[in-house]
Symmetry: C2
Subunit: 159 residues, 2 copies
């Protein structure tokens, strides 16, 4: 998304950068928000985490943080363009770091086993950018998600 951004996406590389981005919108830097963003940096760039998983991992690391704080932080960060919200499963949302790299990657989901594969395809983002421009929309985000059955599950089901 944002292949031709009006305002460049903030790149958060250190704690103080995050503070600047938050304060600009009247939000505050808290250790909880820092920890959440650090977690996304510690996992692979294209790794998706649900609120539940984020909470689990942080608690395992010994952090004291509640699940409601996770949800609130995710909202704020999606609003600031730091994170990207993904619809990968039926019943919950997933999040990943929003960076120029991930902006052209899309998802292929196996509806049987839930496995997710990524693929890069710039042309899709370009179509999205073109459509929004034509219609005068401000582009916030776009998602291309394919649902199917992976080879393994096809065999398993004797398809």
């Amino acid at each position: 998304m944002m292949t031709e951004p009006n305002q460049p996406l903030p790149r958060i590389n250190s704690g103080s950068d995050l503070k600047t981005v938050l304060n600009k919108e009247g939000f505050r830097l808290t250790s909880q928000r820092q920890k959440i963003l650090e977690l996304f940096r510690d996992v692979a760039l294209d790794h998706h985490l649900s609120a539940e998983e984020i909470h689990h991992q942080l608690v395992e690391q010994g952090e004291k943080i509640s699940i409601s704080t996770i949800y609130r932080a995710l909202h704020v960060m999606v609003g600031l363009g730091l994170l990207q919200e993904l619809e990968l499963a039926e019943d919950r949302k997933y999040y990943e770091l929003s960076t120029p790299f991930t902006s052209h990657h899309h998802h292929l989901v196996c509806v049987q086993c839930g496995a997710v594969q990524e693929f890069e395809e710039v042309s899709i983002s370009d179509v999205g950018a073109g459509e929004t421009q034509t219609r005068g929309f401000v582009l916030l985000n776009s998602q291309f998600t394919i649902y199917g059955v992976c080879p393994r599950c096809q065999n398993r089901l004797g398809s």
Copy 2:
């Protein structure tokens, strides 16, 4: 989706067709299921309805149908390929008729007012078909959704 379908999508044009499709999978034709599908045919082809909206409309028409039946019917019909499930809002799912026509249409959502615009773009479906083929997936469905702010909401917010 299904630009090169293995099995052509069933086209449901009359009550008896629906019966055939349902029975083939061990399901039964009921007046409730018929009423739901008729509702989709009465609205514009590209119109999306949530479970709640379907229920509301049918009750308003004087039909006696419960919300749980709606949810159950939607599941069955998505499973049969008659309907398409869409992720247009944060908190609920929308459904539309699954036809060759709609298979190349995608959605542009205003996150402020919720307005949804449609656009046709075959190249997107082609990319999806190509990716799934390359990876050996069976393609079930794909969605390209763009989230942004529509011109009217931009003005309203003084952006």
